[in-house]
Symmetry: C2
Subunit: 190 residues, 2 copies
Amino acid sequence: MNPFLKNDINIFKNLSESEFIELKSVFSYRKYLKKEFIIKEDAAVENIYFISSGLVKLSYFDNDTNEFILSFAFENWWETDFSAFYNQTKAALTLQCLEDTEVYGLNFDDYFLILDKYRLSNYFLDKSIRGHIASQKRILSLLTLKPKERYEQFLQLYPSINQRIPKSVLALYLGVSRETLSRLYRKSKK
Amino acid sequence: MNPFLKNDINIFKNLSESEFIELKSVFSYRKYLKKEFIIKEDAAVENIYFISSGLVKLSYFDNDTNEFILSFAFENWWETDFSAFYNQTKAALTLQCLEDTEVYGLNFDDYFLILDKYRLSNYFLDKSIRGHIASQKRILSLLTLKPKERYEQFLQLYPSINQRIPKSVLALYLGVSRETLSRLYRKSKK
DNA sequence: ATTAGGGTGTGACCGAAATCACTTTTATTT
DNA sequence: AAATAAAAGTGATTTCGGTCACACCCTAAT
């Protein structure tokens, strides 16, 4: 198993080497290529995914035409369509790779199994609360900031992924048109 | 202790009567009047609050002038400035009563204490994930819907609190001006 | 019954961003 | 290297929602 996942979990719970080998067996490793879908709309959402390398986008399509991006996820993030996974319903969101990406999947039953067996509830609770806090920041950003300010906030918050995604994709995340973003970009440079 | 909290927790973990009496002692009950602040900007955030009755708004003020509402919270919801509580920093948000409100406060140390002592991690994990899912829905609503559609979605989602708040306050939540909301309102009636 | 204040409705005007249309630049593929 | 596709820049036009200004409630207090 990728060392990242081990290090990440160990922040909260020091498992012995043997416990870790045991735990590792419940995860399913898979590699996806750029543009491949990890979760497709209307498909069942079997897993929650730990991204060990690469970059993905979680998005929603209205009327299967216009795309909107809920979040990017990269190294050491857990991601899935939480609503669909947690309620075991069909995916309303899609999860697609912006780069070649390696993931460790954890299915519904195993998720609840390991919560108790390895006392990982507090680990996931921490992840979830931080995710919740990040979502609230995003809501405030959408409510309070103008496109230009949102763009600048994004640059500050995620300087690394800004380099890794096309501007047209970033526009889908910021909630502005491609053209408007392009014009802002010029202005904030000088 | 208010029966609501007990019923809510019991969904996840059946505590004995004596355990419950023990647990109850860590909560601090308090009653607030309409317009009172439970959390004030820049103050320390001691507690996470379980709302047992009433209605509150969680909001952000930019430059201490313009208000934006992150969420409403009412009976059976847990609410606080999570970022400030969890990181033990000063409040960036305010929590203010829209009605007379009764809360049960739980402080930082006790929170982590009872997570383990009463095995409540899974209970709070569930709450947190559902909160996270709700936040994501809100983000999508802001990204994909026009003001009129957001208003209609709100009516559908929270028909009860729509009756309990002024339209001008709802506008702060929907991210539109008071005037625009007023005009939409007329249009969607006919 | 008069006043004051919170909440709401509505017209006029303005501006930021969407949309449309097209060009230019940069990557990928063969 | 040529061809094709993807991404980005830019002008012209339109539109939705914000802002300003003021009128009209309705309830509670004097």
